[in-house]
């Protein structure tokens, strides 16, 4: 029989080798009924998983790539990014599982050939092939998680694949696959985000979210008012429509009806502009606000608070 596929054969071998290499870091997590989910051995003794696949907090076991089963404890979870971390009861040997080898961010390119590598059970590693279909900037999930890059995939996230690895053709891990962050759309959480969340969960047990305690809506100043305040035409801001009692905003004296013109020196025209200034690093820091109240401009200083960690959000998502 003719075997006339040197180029395809080489690609096929590369793909199989990539799955094999990445598969040494991909584990199966038994923490829900029926289909187990996938996880990645991210650091010594630490497995990263998709939070929505962890349905019980006790008696969690993990199947390592060599087939051995070990016990693990839930060490923290973040509903915002749908990530959870598990700590193995005993550090496994290097032959049982390997710490994930990560690829750089530059590998996240639209059109790149990628594999989803999962281990949905004890029957070995499994995979699907596709491409990165879109790459975007930093985005915020509907439940408030900050994700450094938007990475949409054109590949199948099969049952049990959430928490598994997005892998390039070299077998380097580019992120954690998840089908539950955007209505079942296959997405990947890039490694930078995973590192940040793992650090936060290990040191504080949760991911800090900055918090002001206001509800806002976009507002346009009248031309007369803008002129009086020395602002250009079509000056915009955000109108405070609610202040939660005893919140950081309340303590700083912010009132309903105030129009915020700028925060931390940056002009704001949409509530989203304010939200984007409230990264986790702001917690405990002072935020300078310039507001219009009663036709006068005034400065306010808010000490940014921390939102109470949300309990895990049950998500819908295959995989």
């Amino acid at each position: 029989m003719p075997s006339a596929s040197p180029a395809l054969r080489a690609l096929s071998n590369d793909l199989a080798a990539a799955v094999e290499r990445a598969g040494r870091s991909v584990v199966a997590i038994h923490a829900r009924p029926r289909i187990p989910a996938s996880g990645i051995y991210w650091r010594d003794g630490i497995v990263v998983a998709a939070s929505h696949t962890i349905r019980k907090e006790q008696d969690i076991t993990i199947t390592l790539p060599d087939g051995s089963r070990v016990r693990a404890q839930l060490a923290g979870r973040d509903g915002g990014t749908d990530l959870a971390i598990l700590r193995l009861d005993a550090n496994p040997s290097a032959s049982a599982v390997a710490v994930a080898s990560r690829g750089g961010d530059e590998a996240l390119r639209v059109g790149s050939l990628v594999l989803a590598v999962g281990r949905p059970g004890d029957e070995g590693v499994s995979t699907s092939l596709g491409v990165i279909s879109a790459v975007g900037d930093k985005w915020r999930t509907w439940s408030g998680g900050e994700i450094d890059r938007f990475v949409r995939l054109d590949l199948a996230i099969y049952d049990g694949f959430s928490g598994g690895a997005l892998v390039d053709a070299d077998g380097d891990i580019l992120g954690v696959n998840c089908s539950a962050l955007a209505r079942g759309t296959p997405l990947a959480i890039p490694t930078a985000t995973v590192d940040r969340v793992v650090d936060a969960l290990l040191t504080r047990g949760h991911v800090a979210r900055a918090y002001l305690g206001v509800a806002m809506q976009p507002a346009r100043l009248t031309n007369a008012l803008a002129e009086k305040l020395g602002l250009g035409e079509a000056a915009r801001g955000v109108l405070v429509v609610m202040v939660e009692s005893d919140s950081p905003a309340d303590r700083a004296g912010l009132l309903v009806g105030d129009v915020i013109l700028s925060a931390a020196g940056q002009a704001v025209g949409e509530p989203q502009d304010v939200a984007e200034l409230l990264g986790a690093e702001r917690v405990g820091a002072d935020l300078e606000l310039s507001v219009v109240r009663g036709g006068e401009k005034r400065a306010l200083r808010v000490t940014v608070g921390e939102r109470a960690p949300a309990s895990d959000v049950r998500r819908r998502g295959r995989g």
């Binding site: 075997s3 006339a4 799955v19 590693v125 499994s126 099969y158």
Partner: protein, 209 residues
């Protein structure tokens, strides 16, 4: 300028070569693939089948669910090269979803499938499927091994796009070795009966008593 043009012209050659290889592979597999039409009071189905080497000669292997239920029932078989013949259901296992058909008047020259062992595959390896999805004759699909058969009786699972009409058709490696017979789509995954399971059944039913 000249160099730039040379680069631009050289770049697509890689994927053109890939496409050429796939085309050759499709041609090779079409020779060993047939179209099966079963029509009876209870069944009107179009599926695919594979010309399979058995100890006693050449048979057609397909899925049980695309042929009539009784031994001796007639089906119509067409080869891609144009020959047509009637065939009888020789043996059928609903449990395995495999059927063996005997050709009434086999053409003089038949291309028989070469088979490979699905248990030696690796996840991620490229696979191709040939069949007649939604009636389109001799269509090729490309995907990868999703999971290798678990044990001697497990299925071969492929990350590949299949449709009704692929049933009974070959799932093959890049050298054209048939490693499975496509039999269903489960949650988007292509499920195939591994060739060694098919071989076992063929040998079982064709061994002279």
């Amino acid at each position: 300028m000249g160099a730039a043009i040379a680069v631009a012209a050289a770049a697509p050659a890689g994927h053109r070569a890939l496409a050429g290889e796939l085309e050759g592979l499709a041609r090779q597999l079409r020779g060993a693939t047939v179209r099966i039409h079963s029509s009876s009071a209870r069944l009107d189905a179009i599926g695919a089948g594979v010309l399979w080497r058995a100890q006693t000669g050449v048979v057609v292997v397909t899925n049980a669910h695309v042929v009539p239920p009784n031994r001796g029932d007639d089906v119509h078989v067409e080869g891609v090269s144009g020959y047509e013949t009637e065939a009888r259901v020789f043996a059928r296992s609903r449990q395995l979803d495999v059927a063996v058909l005997a050709l009434e008047t086999p053409p003089n020259e038949l291309t028989v499938a070469t088979t490979g062992d699905a248990r030696s595959l690796r996840p991620g390896e490229i696979l191709v499927a040939l069949g007649h999805p939604f009636g389109v004759p001799g269509a090729l699909s490309v995907g990868v091994v999703h999971a290798v058969p678990n044990g001697d009786d497990g299925w071969l699972r492929a990350d590949i796009r299949l449709a009704p009409g692929n049933s009974g058709g070959p799932l093959a490696t890049l050298d054209g070795s048939v490693v499975g017979i496509n039999c269903m789509i489960a949650r988007g995954l292509g499920i195939a009966i591994p060739s060694h399971v098919v071989d076992r059944f063929v040998n079982e039913v064709l061994t002279p008593a």
